[in-house]
């Protein structure tokens, strides 16, 4: 029996290592940082007044929380029931943000890092079981491509926190050989920035969260436009430090592996379509917003005849909007095959 359209809420969810977003057919759009935290004890519970916190709220209250970032390098941290529970909590939170009505059937498409699809498909399915009435899991770059209607002779490069996913779209559902994953991504830039800053400022005190915030605010590749001054305690004394060289070096560490993989994937495309793919490269994910990154990739493409790299306009919702488009297009008969 076909249900009335209004009785179904379609959701597109981008389950990311760093941030997760939801786009709903009722017009709701939300993004949260992928942190889930439970109060560590009775005192924390009394102060927080909630059984679980998400995103920025969880990060802010982290001393009082058992804090989890359940995805690491594109995979659910398998073996930890707490992290699987964190994934479920996070998805339930995202669904609740979309504000489904009590009698609405929730049909969700969840975009996940491509590596998670390949390596831990079954674990992923188990972790998300029961969070919606019907569930479909797709790889994130495919969701981005679908949402942008970029399904033929295009390449998606999705630079996330845990992984950089590549997907060449050939007008069909991508196979393993159309996709690649690198662990050179936002988190590896953070780690390298920490290493470089510790070498430069051995007496400075900073946390990974501070370094991540600096990266997100000041990242760039290419020639620096000026100093990047941040204030950091050195032996307890607030000190202004120029970290432009370290930011530049850490961000540029992404370029060699991404360029190598991009060129290699292009070389594997059927020869008559290589030029089309070169001119239709879409940069998605948080890393797509690094100033000059797309231009640097275009410079690399110059070695093989040139090309065009375009960053998505809305990296926060490109994945979830694509997943929503898949959810809306999937026929009811397909949804009936997919229990939640």
């Amino acid at each position: 029996m076909t249900k009335e359209k209004s009785s179904v809420l379609h959701l597109g969810i981008d389950l990311g290592t760093s941030r997760s977003s939801v786009s709903a057919s009722n017009g709701q759009h939300h993004v949260v940082e992928s942190y889930v935290g439970w109060p560590v004890d009775m005192v924390a519970r009394k102060l927080i007044k909630k059984s679980v916190l998400f995103g920025h709220d969880a990060l802010e209250a982290r001393p009082m929380l058992d804090l989890h970032r359940p995805l690491e390098r594109g995979l659910i941290k398998e073996g930890s029931q707490k992290d699987e529970q964190a994934v479920r909590e996070l998805l339930q939170h995202l669904i609740s943000l979309a504000n489904p009505e009590g009698n609405q059937k929730v049909c969700a498409v969840i975009g996940v890092p491509a590596e998670a699809m390949r390596v831990s498909r079954q674990h992923l399915r188990n972790a998300v079981k029961g969070v919606a009435d019907s569930l479909m899991i797709v790889s994130e770059p495919f969701a981005v491509a679908y949402g942008m209607d970029a399904l033929l002779h295009t390449m998606i490069i999705d630079i996330g926190a845990g992984t950089t996913d590549f997907c060449v779209m050939n007008g069909r559902y991508p196979t393993d050989e159309d996709q690649r994953t690198l662990t050179n991504a936002g988190d590896s830039v953070d780690e390298q920035l920490v290493t470089l800053l510790r070498a430069k400022l051995p007496d400075a005190q900073f946390s990974i969260h501070m370094v991540r915030a600096w990266k997100e605010k000041f990242s760039f590749v290419g020639e620096p436009k000026g100093k990047v001054d941040v204030t950091v305690p050195v032996n307890g004394k607030p000190t202004v430090v120029d970290i432009a060289p370290e930011i530049q070096r850490a961000c540029e560490s992404l370029l060699p592996p991404i360029v190598e993989t991009m060129l290699d994937l292009i070389s594997r495309v059927e020869p008559e379509y290589q030029e089309s793919v070169r001119h239709n490269i879409i940069l998605a994910g948080g890393g797509s917003q690094i100033p000059n990154f797309a231009a640097a990739l275009e410079t690399a493409l110059g070695e093989i005849g040139g090309g065009r790299v375009k960053a998505v306009d809305d990296p926060l919702f490109a994945g979830s909007n694509g997943s929503l488009a898949i959810a809306a297009d999937a026929p009811e008969s397909d949804w009936e095959k997919l229990p939640g």
Partner: protein
């Protein structure tokens, strides 16, 4: 296109492996031919290694075959024959000490590895391994080397030596050679499918003359990706890579952090302990070559590798255990 996405999800729900459509392209035919060539390659007598400035001619066939190998045993469309998905055990529940370190100096004997400017990879890896051994032994670790001189050792012999010694971790030491001469850096591998063709070629080169048959490989690879050792190897690789880069960046300011990567190196497949393969420098780069001629730089590499092992061991709770057991414990 959406139908394929749904089919993949349904297959996952039912426990079947999704049927993946694959193009039967020229490359695939090449891959199939490569698998056939592998059988010939593995049964032929082991010959001397190449002597050029780059690595021995890469056995791409090996890499191609190994890239196929993980699918064996999980492929096919018959759901009834599918083994249950193994659930990974959280390794932190064991809190086991890391006491015995197996060091594997790459190449040796008739296999010089990469060569340039009078330097041979086999000599550099042995020298660095001996330095690492000295540092670790001074810190109460028990150290075993898979070769202690200029000896020819097949990869299977190295694996057997590591397993017989019942090492807690293995670090295989190599020196890289990259086609682009201006590139340099350090990278650390743990077991997994290669993420690009360069790594496939590198794995092929390092795997040549392994002494294993294709059937051995299929057996070894079944289940490896899902076990505790895989996750522990990743942690060890992160510890080693982090220390290598941070220690060498002062003496070698242009060094690249080429990252933690996955590749199907034989020595990582067959060993029964967390294992990594570290490419500690690039012999294809002139500046790296000059640095590798310096004892002090080799010592820095050795101390960084030892620090990586030490850091990993400390994270596993080994330090307390070592202190309690005292020196020479085994």
């Amino acid at each position: 296109m959406l139908h394929d996405a749904v089919e993949e999800n349904v297959a996952t729900i039912t426990g079947a492996v999704p049927r993946r459509r694959r193009r039967v392209s020229g490359r695939m035919w090449f891959g199939l031919a490569a698998v056939a060539a592998l059988v010939f390659f593995l049964v032929r007598p082991q010959g001397p290694a190449a002597t050029g400035p780059a690595r021995p001619n890469p056995a791409i066939e090996m890499a191609a075959a190994m890239a196929e190998a993980p699918r064996v045993g999980t492929g096919g469309g018959n759901a009834a024959l599918q083994p249950p998905v193994p659930h990974v055990i959280d390794p932190t529940i064991f809190r086991l000490a890391v006491r015995k370190i197996v060091l594997d100096p790459g190449h040796g004997g008739t296999d010089p590895g990469a060569m340039t400017g009078g330097l041979r990879e086999k000599e550099i890896t042995l020298d660095i391994a001996e330095r690492v051994a000295a540092v670790l032994a001074a810190q109460d670790f028990v150290v075993v080397l898979t070769r202690e001189g200029d000896e020819t050792r097949s990869l299977q012999q190295r694996v057997d030596a590591a397993n017989t010694a019942k090492g807690d971790v293995l670090v295989s030491i190599h020196v890289n050679s990259i086609p682009t001469e201006e590139r340099r850096g350090v990278e650390t591998y743990y077991l997994g499918a290669a993420s690009d063709s360069r790594i496939e070629r590198l794995a092929g080169a390092e795997n040549s003359g392994s002494g294993y048959s294709l059937a051995d490989f299929r057996h070894l690879l079944e289940g490896v990706y899902a076990d505790v050792r895989h996750e522990e190897s990743r942690r060890l690789a992160q510890a080693v890579q982090g220390r290598l880069f941070s220690a060498l960046m002062h003496a070698n300011p242009q060094i690249e952090d080429r990252g933690v990567k996955q590749a199907p190196f034989v020595v990582l497949v067959g060993t029964e302990m967390p294992s990594v393969l570290a490419e500690v420098a690039c012999l294809s780069n002139k500046e790296d070559t000059l640095l590798l001629k310096q004892d002090s730089y080799r010592q820095q590499i050795a101390e960084a590798l030892a620090a990586g092992v030490r850091g990993y061991a400390a994270a596993r709770g080994a330090v307390t255990t070592l202190a309690r057991r005292g020196a020479g414990a085994n």
